[in-house]
């Protein structure tokens, strides 16, 4: 029996889809049978990030409304045999699916897959309620900005109310240089407010944009810092004990000079 993990955040643009794609791919690399489910009906993205856009025939609404069988709508990934995508519909809206249908779908996916990763839409309305309905665990993504943290807090409250307790946190797009200068919230500030277990930190990395545009998740890129971060997160999801990524900034020439002159 598999596990259904929902990736959510409240605020948009913090990296839910990127996280879902990388987490799913990472788990597939580790040998698990994985399905990625895009529940952002009307604004689907996960297919683009995975580079599978041109293979969509049926979508999640076709499955829940009985237009096709689940098997027909699942798209096999181009790189991994054991990775599948269930795309969102682009021409319908969030109300085309009900939480009850999502629970049924999740139960069906659990029979077949080790992990079902659900990419949740932004917001706290119907789409969010659908996405969390069948989930066993939740991963909350935030960035080191007050607005994103505020929304994450709200989401954690709603998850608890829906009895999805112990959500795990991913802090995305951290910029170690800025944190060091005191210009960005650091991990401690965020954990102080949210008070949930940290699953991982992902540094801001240009290679994410490149990989997103190419449709190749960064988790496979062994030169990318963000890829390394997602590999660690994947291992922690599987229950392994792995240290958080070391985000220390190497001492620059100016730092050394300042120290020499005794400015610090």
């Amino acid at each position: 029996m598999g596990e259904v993990i929902v990736v959510t955040s409240g605020k948009g643009g913090v990296g839910k889809t990127t996280t879902s794609a990388n987490l799913g791919t990472g788990l597939a690399v580790a040998g698990h049978k994985v399905v990625l489910v895009d529940t952002d009906i009307g604004l689907r993205n996960l297919d683009v990030v995975m580079g599978l856009e041109n293979r969509i025939v049926y979508d999640i609404v076709d499955v829940t409304s009985g237009n096709c069988r689940l098997r027909q709508a699942l798209i096999k990934d181009k790189r991994f045999e054991n990775l599948f995508l269930l795309p969102a519909a682009q021409t319908k809206d969030k109300n085309a699916v009900t939480p009850e249908q999502m629970r049924e779908l999740s139960a069906e996916l659990k029979q077949e897959f080790d992990y079902a990763i659900i990419d949740c839409p932004a917001g706290i309305e119907q789409g969010f309620k659908n996405a969390i309905a069948g989930a066993d665990r939740a991963v909350v993504v935030t960035t080191p900005e007050m607005s994103a943290v505020r929304d994450a807090d709200r989401i954690i409250g709603l998850l608890e109310a829906a009895e999805l307790s112990n959500p795990k946190l991913i802090i995305n797009r951290i910029r170690p240089q800025m944190v060091k200068r005191g210009d960005m919230m650091d991990m401690a500030d965020i954990l102080d407010i949210l008070a949930i277990e940290l699953l991982g930190v992902v540094p801001e990395d240009e290679s994410i944009i490149i990989s997103t545009n190419k449709g190749e998740p960064a988790v496979m890129d062994h030169n990318a810092k963000a890829g390394e971060a997602y590999r660690r997160i994947t291992r922690r999801i599987r229950g392994e004990q792995v240290a958080l990524m070391n985000l220390d900034v190497p001492e620059g020439l100016m730092d050394k000079l300042r120290k020499l002159v005794g400015l610090r």
């Binding site: 505020r150 929304d151 807090d153 709200r154 954690i156 409250g157 608890e160 407010i193 008070a195």
Partner: protein, 223 residues
């Protein structure tokens, strides 16, 4: 006050008051009541109960079902409350001042919340509120009595909401988005969020002031 999703029960000097949610179907309220009484009948046995359901009227059949449900747990339905009886007291601040003023807010109903209030949570209570956790930005507490937070108060707190200036707000770490007592309002100074020890906010000479809690000689030794 005990509450479930659609009903709440409060003990008063004149027996229990049962508040029914007027906006849901009667059957839902009744099921919840049965479930609740089933769990706590021992505690409530023999009391008289008055009900309040806003402007909503129930038909004879529903009233009969309610009466017999209560009766089966040894509770007697003794009447219905009007809105004025329920809200009358808190809408007239002058009365409250006179009634509670001499008691310096030392007594009253109290609501314990044993978790962190997160953004979007709102607690409104007639009496004192104690939070065993944090109150995060975006959460609010509105009470007619005092507010005590045994964690960080980062959200909005309104004590003495019915106009009682004797109410206080205290917290282990007091950095509210906004703090109100009765009709006065203040906010934490910008950019100051280092821990200064437990603090209490109260009204002195018409001014809302914040001071360290007396007797905190170990100030700063924690953390």
């Amino acid at each position: 006050m005990t509450r479930t999703e659609h009903l709440s029960i409060k003990g008063t000097r004149d027996g229990l008051v049962l508040y029914l949610d007027p906006n849901v179907e009667f059957q839902i309220v009744l099921d919840e009541l049965k479930h609740y009484l089933g769990e706590s009948s021992q505690f409530l046995q023999g009391a008289t109960v008055r009900c309040y359901a806003g402007e909503r009227g129930y038909n004879a059949e529903e009233l009969q079902a309610l009466t017999s449900t209560l009766a089966s747990y040894n509770l007697e339905l003794s009447g219905w409350l009007k809105a004025a009886e329920v809200y009358g007291k808190i809408t007239r601040p002058s009365d409250v001042e006179r009634e509670k003023g001499d008691e310096s807010m030392a007594e009253g109903n109290c609501l314990f919340i044993d978790r962190t209030l997160r953004s979007g949570n709102s607690v409104q209570y007639e009496g004192h509120v104690v939070v065993l956790g944090d109150v995060n930005p975006g959460a609010e507490i509105i009470s007619t009595g005092n507010i005590v937070v045994l964690g960080a108060l980062r959200g909005v707190a309104h004590a003495g909401a019915s106009g009682n200036r004797l109410a206080t707000v205290s917290a282990y770490h007091l950095i509210p988005t906004q703090l109100r007592i009765a009709d006065l309002l203040t906010r934490a100074p910008d950019g100051e969020d280092t821990w200064r020890g437990p603090e209490i906010a109260r009204v002195k000479e018409g001014q809302l002031i914040v001071e360290g809690l007396a007797g905190m000689t170990w100030k700063g030794s924690l953390r």
